[in-house]
């Protein structure tokens, strides 16, 4: 089975006008405009199989959103080949648009003053969804997203989180096979973020849809995607399993020990660093390769009640990747 999404050497450059602030610069720019080339996406390749959930990671301006916009057909790339479900996205064929959705955290397609149900009916007609399928889909989405009576209230009276749920539902009415989610949880409280995550997981399981999502909430990515693609400054830094990312980029492990009684720490030979001592709990950071030896020494030389060895938080790992540290 061919992959749902196939991207080869994708390049997207923008030319943007540039000038410094101030009146003089403003006059000068009338006569001679300076331009700067922005390499939003600079030669990335990857494939996504049917039913996969893939997280796009990267700092602001990394090119995540640009990549999603190319994939959904909003942007024409500067170079490279993209194939999604056998279509070239930027041809924006009706058959293509009926099979995908792009949901952007801040854009809205709903009529502000009308209940979302009215906007839903517009999408039903535009996408040519037949009555029975429409009814089933609305039921499914209402259940998964707990929409309740949200569809009958004017959109302007909904909270940000409620609106996001309704927006998601509106973008899924035509049962797209590929979902591009750009920051789907941005600006939402923790409970609502959790809810959206559970929904995406459930939707993926229920429909077998392929999902590509960007987020800078690490919790989103951890909860949703087993595979991550890390891009920075338009280039692909990593493509693979989430735990592989941690294994590859985390330079150290965190060892936490609980002692049965007070005791002196053994000599750590400079292989580890004590981060904190809090009563009977000691937190130690050791290099990845030294961790087994350090753990062994702690176990033999201390009266230990409990010991755990953990990878550092994902945020820290990602930060490491973006700063170009690590292997």
């Amino acid at each position: 089975m061919p992959p749902d999404v196939s991207v080869r050497d994708l390049v997207k450059h923008y030319v943007v006008p540039e000038r410094t602030g101030g009146l003089r610069a403003s006059f000068r720019s009338v006569i001679r405009r300076k331009h700067r080339l922005v390499r939003a996406v600079d030669g990335i390749s990857f494939e996504v199989d049917r039913g996969e959930v893939v997280g796009f990671l990267g700092p602001n301006g990394a090119g995540k959103t640009t990549a999603l916009k190319v994939l959904s057909g909003l942007l024409h790339p500067t170079d490279g080949q993209v194939d999604v479900l056998g279509f070239t996205p930027w041809d924006r064929r009706a058959e293509y648009l009926s099979r995908i959705t792009l949901i952007m955290g801040q854009r809205q397609q709903l009529f502000w003053d009308l209940p979302a149900a009215d906007s839903f009916l517009v999408n039903k007609a535009v996408f040519g969804i037949d009555d029975a399928v429409y009814a089933r889909t609305v039921d499914l989405l209402t259940e998964l997203l707990d929409l309740g009576d949200l569809l009958t209230k004017p959109v302007r009276q909904l909270s940000l989180g409620e609106r996001m749920k309704v927006e998601l539902a509106a973008g899924l009415l035509h049962r797209p096979r590929v979902l591009f989610l750009d920051e789907p949880t941005i600006g939402l409280d923790v409970t609502m973020q959790q809810r959206i995550r559970e929904f995406v997981t459930a939707y993926n399981a229920e429909t077998g849809a392929t999902v590509l999502l960007t987020s800078h909430y690490m919790a989103d990515v951890k909860a949703l995607a087993r595979r991550v693609i890390v891009i920075d400054q338009g280039k692909l830094l990593y493509d693979g399993a989430l735990d592989g990312l941690v294994r590859r980029y985390a330079p150290h492990k965190t060892i936490t020990v609980h002692l049965e009684r007070e005791a002196d720490l053994p000599d750590l030979n400079g292989q580890a660093e004590v981060l904190s001592v809090d009563g009977l709990q000691i937190t130690i950071r050791a290099g990845k390769d030294d961790a087994p030896e350090v753990t062994g020494r702690l176990l033999t030389q201390l009266p230990i009640a409990d010991l755990s060895v953990e990878d550092p938080p994902l945020e820290e790992v990602i930060d490491q990747v973006f700063r170009g540290e690590g292997p």
Partner: protein
Amino acid sequence: MIVRRATLAGALALTRAEVADMFQYRVVLFLYSLWEVVHPIVYLAVWGAIAGDGDVGGLRLSDFAAYYLTFMLVSHVTAAIEIYTFGPMIQQGELSPHLLRPMNPVWVAAARNISYKSVSMLLLIPVWIGLVIILRPSLTITTGSAALFVVALVVAALLSFLVGTTFALLAFWTTRSFSFWEIWIGLTFLLGGQVAPVELLPGFVQNLATALPMRYTLGFPIEVLLNRLDSGELALGFALQFAWLFAAALVVRAVWRAGIRQYSAVGA
């Protein structure tokens, strides 16, 4: 041009939603369109004063009343609002969600145009009837002229919509599309049958007005209804009106395609 069935159904659903949406703003809408309908009274007052008890180029006060009362309805039906509705959508990046649906976003502009006019018309008809009672125009409408009027009015509305959309689409390239639109508005004021019926314009200007598209968005349907044209002028008028409609459709298509290329190149 082949239009998908879902597109037509979509446009219809969109228009229904837009109408519901418009009703939320009925008071604003009423005041806004009230000016549009009532301002021709100014032209009528001026021409009435000039005509006095006599006539100007064969038009008496009651003829001017008929012309400008018809003008009120025609100018409302053919008003192009795309520079206010569609242009800002492009400028503010609101086009993207619409581009992701299998329907050309120009339909969104069309739906808004139709809903604006149908809702505001409901509010304005009573005002207009009141004016007819007060102003007593001399109207002799035949079945023939009424039928031709409907055709001329529909084509005028379509032409006007396409012209308005073209100017709105300039927002793909410039933040100053309003300035270009002002030029069109000015030309329509002079040559479209607004400040004066085209038949009163001096020779050379009248020829210009006959050739250019502005008259076909406004003055022409009025002249048709009021039987101001002989059969030769009627035939020429319709020929030119349809020709301009066809040309405008080609222009909108070309500008839309170029605009979308621009939009998807610089960042949607």
